[in-house]
């Protein structure tokens, strides 16, 4: 990198019209490239689909490397080498174990925790810490945001949502502690602002410098008013205006600081204005936000609930105007089972968009997908029967070459899903003894 003699360009110089073009060089040169001698950081993401899945259309035929993509998972076939289908995992603590009905609440609560949550609709909720938050707390110093929780279905967060269980259980899969859920952000605009500040979106360095110059020239003009105004004001008026001029100066400082900032945290996508009109756009946008967050290293851990547990979402755009949850209580009726499969397939297609986007970002000598581990699945398999074993689970991405992808692995019945999480945490450099009901690490992920 050439040392660049940085002339101290006063804003006045810029204002006098030497122009934005002069501002360019020092911005460009200061932007860091992802130097190839830095070890790639591993990212961890979770994508949750609610109400279970038609397992007959999910489970691939064949095991190991030679497996056939099922109907539901067909859209992921182009990414065969990056996809692992894991069969036989279970969340034992999602079962009633004497607590009666409430499988949706228990499913949501146990998915990332492996804990049997307390049956209550009141303020005394109790679950366990989730795998993503274990990682987030261990790696908190590394990034600006420890983790990102997103969701695509708004719902109440208090009161009774499932047979005497609090809505907190169906609403969040991420738990900071046994008593503190991390409710997902529903509005893509707010999520964007959390990640990238109140910025408007991607800009070329020229455009950014230009906007900064314009803002500074506006602020300069109003700051000049001070000299003319102050002598004419009484003391109390002056004090009021002081607040104003302080605000002006603060913004100038912010702009100047941003110009000197070494890190490039320009958002790689435009700021959303709100929740998109169609569900597909909405979910894809939430996936794009996660990609952007990983790409800019604002955070390395994220989760997305495509629907809350017990989701009532309708899917008229794929010919399923029925509400999802009642639909999954099909009692075996073929037409309705078929509709459930359609919804599951739709979800998987949206997920394939995520995988594609991750794969499209180059990183080091590979892609962002190579350095990411994404878990896609549900804590219910049969939504009609409320089964918490033989769960639908995908593990996508190589985790920094730590995972030997491209296989269908069938684990012994009722293998705890938490064993998978322990293993993934290992790959993030987070060593834990146990999480939830784990009994050890999950074998064969890194070897044949």
């Amino acid at each position: 990198m050439n040392p660049i003699t940085r002339k101290h360009l006063s804003r006045r110089t810029v204002l006098r019209g030497i122009g934005a073009s002069v501002a360019l060089p020092w911005l460009d040169a200061m932007r860091p490239a992802f130097a190839s001698n830095r070890p790639p950081t591993v990212r961890l993401a979770f994508t949750y689909v609610p109400n279970g899945v038609t397992m007959a259309d999910w489970t691939p035929k064949g095991t190991g490397k030679e497996f056939e993509f099922s109907r539901i998972l067909k859209s992921l076939e182009p990414y065969r080498d990056d996809v692992m289908v894991l069969s036989g995992l279970a969340q034992h603590n999602g079962n009633a174990l004497g607590d009666g009905p409430g499988d949706h609440a228990r499913a949501g609560a146990s998915f990332l925790t492996g804990v049997h949550c307390k049956k209550t609709a009141g303020a005394d909720i109790s679950n366990g810490i989730s795998a993503d938050q274990v990682a987030a707390q261990a790696l908190a110093q590394e990034t600006r945001l420890p983790s990102l929780e997103l969701g695509c279905e708004e719902s109440r967060t208090v009161g009774n949502c499932d047979s005497g269980y609090s809505c907190a259980y169906t609403n969040s899969i991420s738990w900071r502690s046994a008593t503190t859920p991390m409710p997902p952000e529903m509005n893509p605009r707010s999520a964007f602002e959390r990640l990238f500040g109140a910025d408007e979106g991607p800009m070329t360095p020229e455009a950014r410098a230009r906007r900064a110059a314009r803002r500074l020239s506006v602020l300069d003009l109003v700051a000049e008013r001070r000299q003319a105004l102050e002598p004419t004001l009484g003391a109390s008026d002056r004090r009021k205006l002081d607040e104003y001029f302080y605000g002006v100066r603060e913004i100038e400082r912010q702009i100047e600081r941003a110009e000197k900032d070494q890190r490039d945290v320009t958002a790689p996508l435009e700021k959303p204005s709100g929740i998109p009109a169609t569900f597909a756009e909405y979910v894809k946008l939430m996936f794009d936000l996660q990609v952007a967050a990983f790409q800019t290293d604002v955070t390395r851990i994220s989760s997305l609930m495509i629907g809350r547990e017990g989701s009532l979402q309708v899917y008229p755009e794929i010919g399923v105007p029925d509400s999802h949850h009642p639909l999954t209580h099909h009692r075996g009726t073929p037409e309705l089972v078929e509709k459930v499969t359609k919804v599951n397939t739709f979800h998987a297609e949206l997920f394939a968009h995520f995988v594609g986007r991750l794969k499209a970002v180059s990183e080091g000598d590979g892609t962002l997908l190579d350095n990411t581990m994404v878990v896609y699945g549900s804590a219910l398999s049969d939504g009609d029967r409320h089964t918490h074993e033989d769960l639908p689970v995908l593990l996508v991405g190589r985790g920094g070459k730590a995972i030997k992808s491209g296989r269908h692995l069938v684990y012994p019945e009722k293998t705890p899903m938490t064993n998978l999480y322990l293993t993934l945490l290992d790959k993030m450099g987070v060593k834990e003894e146990t999480i939830g009901d784990s009994t050890g690490r999950l074998q064969h992920l890194s070897d044949v």
Partner: protein, 823 residues
């Protein structure tokens, strides 16, 4: 003796140095007052004992008394309410109390009269959120309302346009920057690419007690039923929107399909039909509306609109056994019992039994559980792109078509904008600086529009726009004050009545120097009150004076008030808004607020009040003679915001009346006051009896003997304003008496008393409106102004326009004092 009390809370900033003159009857101080004080007060309030840190004996002369109005005001209050001398000490008789208090009041009044007039001063104040939005709308014909995303404004003296408390933080400054960019872009180039977005609207619904009875009569439109959903939603731009109406709840198996009616602003509804038997359901033995929906397309203008979704002919189409009209005729598919595989014979028996029970219960499925759960508004689609001609005309004066502007357009365009935005004549140097910004941008390659846009942005964040700055009077005129300039007067007028910038006519009159002429001013006031922009007065002043803004956060307990729904909440607010509006438009007397025998109701509200003969969801003027309601005190909005979510509070209601009708707000309770035992209320004693505890304790009685009776008089109205004769198991006792002895029974008699004291009421409204108009709290020296205004308004029958005109013609409105020189 009239129920007249000096306000207990009077805040003084600078205490004027009272010139060495005396009041009305200074000699009486030595001859008759001091002896009274000696007999009743000096016993404790002397130099040695100094009870309550008060040494009355130290006040040796009339001048000394006049120099400490705070203390002596307190003396008057304590004596009038018989708190002092305390029980057990020798009590002065009626005549003595009267003599003492009257002397004090007269002396101060005279001193005030003789004191030099003081117009007060308002601190430079920034535009509050409403003013900012409205000003941008009037300046650029763009109604984006960016300030809706700003932090909430602080309030002072009850209003959020108070100069002293409105502050600017760096966060707000940043928002101003972004807002100005956005608004200018929209004005010059159009709203840009607005991707359609989805907003979910789910107001808390009423609680539904499941029921299998079909009522003989009910609202066939469905609009006032619990199954309907009403909401007010702000649409960002004109255009087409899709509204998805989503249902929930259950209905008996075999019922006919239902209709869903959706309407905007009470227009004729669109109707779509829905058959809950289509599609997946949780249940096979009843109909399930969960998640089922219909999409409606509507075309609306930007701004707020009332959306209503309802289920018409709600109790029709049910199975015949329920006895409703038009019973269902469709074939019913009965569910079959399916044996579980691998079940033992016992389990099969059990399962059969459960199935039979389920079928039995399904026969008694409630008929009132189906309802509208939420709306999803998606849009805008098909909205006008490009800048509106109005916006372009507001900005450019050169007459060129968009894209055809020349460099020569820049200076006059920017100059004109600066003058309008600064709301005053501008000096060449000011304009030149802004024009220079535009020409520099042009030189760097920006189009004429872009360059002009940059200049406009700068203007919209400059202090001269964001603040209403009034010039400081010269040193010579500092104490007595100077008239504000005509332009400053025009701004005061327009922000008072419109919460927005002066329009072309006001500015013209200001420039011509004729605005101050009494006949011109009067004509302008009339014009401005007639203008639709005076709605800002209803929302801004009315919403804070009558506190109906508080309805947004009212959360009546669902168990106790199951009927309270969003429809009722919105209707209550609309009623009070329309009432205030009509007082302005028809120039009614202020006393209509006390007992005007009319209001504006729709069917929902009329049912709630028990007023017959009002059908339909539009609001219309209703004669309330013979009902138990009149004026504002018995409107749902006031009754609800002055209650708790679970019960009424005579204390809150009494406080409301004292604060907002009588300008006599009670002070806060002393520290350590024990709370009322909520669990006991209504259990073994009526609420009224429990509040008697307020009166038995002397410290409490001081304030509560004023507050509680007023609230008791309104106890027939429950916490959401419905009439009742019982509160739980206790009959309502709406009797009360004021400290001065006047008794009443029920709301009508209270109103009669208030109306009898209409001067007090008018003084209160005057104080509030003057506070709002000036943007500062009132001081002692304003009392004279208030008294004069009230006298003149009384002579004009208390007409609203008279009050506005008097305020606008008053000294504090037209003049401004300089900053006090520190001696």
């Amino acid at each position: 003796m009239s129920f007249s009390l000096l306000p207990l809370l009077v805040l003084l900033s600078d205490v004027p140095v009272v010139p060495a003159h005396t009041g009305k009857d200074p000699a009486a101080f030595e001859s008759s007052i001091k002896p009274l004080l000696t007999k009743s007060c000096y016993v404790c309030h002397n130099a040695q004992l100094k009870n309550a840190d008060l040494n009355l004996q130290a006040f040796d002369t009339t001048e000394a008394v006049l120099a400490d109005p705070d203390t002596w005001e307190k003396v008057v209050v304590k004596m009038k309410t018989r708190q002092m001398p305390p029980v057990g000490f020798p009590q002065p008789d009626e005549a003595e109390v009267r003599a003492l208090t009257r002397w004090i009041e007269d002396e101060f009044q005279e001193a005030e009269r003789r004191a030099p007039a003081d117009p007060g001063r308002v601190t430079a104040r920034r535009l509050n959120r409403a003013e900012y939005n409205n000003t941008l709308r009037d300046l650029l014909a763009v109604d984006l309302r960016p300030a809706d995303d700003f932090p909430q404004d602080d309030s002072g003296y009850g209003f959020d346009n108070n100069g002293d408390v409105l502050s600017i933080s760096p966060v707000l400054m940043e928002k101003y920057m972004r807002a100005s960019e956005k608004v200018v872009r929209s004005a010059l180039f159009g709203p840009g690419d607005l991707k359609p977005t989805m907003t979910k609207i789910q107001p808390p619904g009423p609680k539904i007690e499941p029921c299998t009875d079909v009522p003989a009569e009910y609202d066939l439109t469905g609009l006032t039923l619990h199954s309907a959903l009403h909401a007010v939603h702000r649409f960002p731009v004109d255009g087409e929107y899709q509204v998805r109406v989503v249902l929930g709840g259950l209905r008996p198996a075999g019922s006919e399909p239902i209709d869903i009616a959706f309407a905007v602003d009470g227009a004729a509804p669109q109707i779509l039909s829905l058959d809950p038997q289509d599609g997946a359901s949780f249940y096979d033995d009843k109909q399930d509306f969960t998640g089922k929906y219909r999409d409606f397309k509507v075309r609306v203008t930007a701004g707020e609109h009332w959306l209503s979704a309802a289920l018409p002919r709600y109790y029709e189409g049910l199975p015949a056994r329920y006895g409703g009209k038009n019973p269902a005729t469709r074939p019913v598919v009965k569910p079959e019992w399916k044996p579980r595989p691998n079940a033992t014979p016992e389990q099969l028996e059990e399962s059969k039994k459960r199935f039979a029970k389920r079928m039995e219960e399904a026969e008694k499925t409630p008929v009132n559980e189906g309802r509208i759960r939420h709306l999803e508004v998606v849009g805008p689609f098909d909205y006008p792109r490009g800048p509106s001609p109005k916006s372009l005309a507001a900005v450019f004066a050169c007459g060129h078509a968009p894209g055809r502007h020349r460099d020569g357009c820049i200076a006059p365009t920017v100059g004109r904008f600066v003058r309008r935005a600064y709301r005053r004549p501008v000096q060449d140097a000011e304009t030149a600086a802004v024009v220079a910004l535009a020409t520099r941008a042009r030189a760097q390659g920006d189009s004429v529009e872009e360059s002009v846009g940059l200049a406009l942005q700068a203007v919209l964040v400059s202090p001269d726009f964001l603040f209403r700055i009034e010039k400081e009077p010269t040193a010579a005129a500092a104490a007595a004050g100077e008239p504000v300039t005509d332009h400053e007067l025009a701004s005061r007028l327009s922000y008072f009545l419109w919460a927005s910038m002066p329009d072309a006519e006001l500015l013209r009159l200001a420039a011509a120097g004729t605005l101050r002429k009494p006949e011109v001013l009067a004509a302008q006031v009339r014009r401005m009150l007639k203008d639709a922009k005076s709605q800002a007065l209803v929302e801004g002043f009315g919403g804070q004076w009558l506190q109906f803004r508080g309805l947004e956060s009212a959360a009546p307990d669902k168990e106790r008030f199951p009927s309270f729904d969003n429809n009722l909440r919105l209707s209550m607010r609309r009623e009070t808004e329309l009432f205030f509006e009509s007082v302005i438009r028809e120039d009614r007397s202020l006393t209509d607020f006390i007992d005007g025998p009319y209001s504006f109701l729709n069917e929902r509200l009329a049912r709630h009040y028990g007023v017959p003969g009002v059908v339909g969801s539009e609001f219309r003027k209703v004669d309330l003679q013979g009902t138990r309601r009149s004026g504002v005190l018995t409107q749902g909005s006031v009754l609800t915001v002055s209650s708790y979510s679970t019960r009424t509070s005579p204390v809150l209601r009494g406080k409301w009346v004292l604060e907002n009708f009588l300008a006599a707000p009670p002070p806060d309770p002393p520290a350590g006051t024990p709370r009322l035992d909520e669990a006991k209320i209504g259990a073994d004693q009526s609420l009224r009896k429990q509040l008697e505890a307020h009166r038995s304790n002397q410290t409490c009685a001081a304030c509560h003997s004023r507050m509680d009776p007023l609230g008791f008089g309104l106890e027939n109205f429950d916490a959401i304003g419905a009439w009742r004769t019982e509160d739980g198991k206790y009959p309502v006792d709406a009797k009360g008496a004021l400290p001065d002895g006047r008794a009443f029974d029920g709301p009508d008699e209270i109103k009669a008393i208030l109306k009898g004291d209409r001067q007090e009421f008018a003084a209160c409204v005057t104080e509030k409106l003057l506070t709002y108009a000036l943007g500062r709290g009132l001081e002692r020296y304003d009392r004279r102004t208030v008294r004069d205004i009230v006298d003149r308004v009384a002579a004009r029958d208390y007409r609203f326009s008279a009050l506005v005109l008097e305020i606008v013609s008053s000294m504090p409105f037209q003049m401004r004092r300089g900053e006090r020189a520190r001696s």
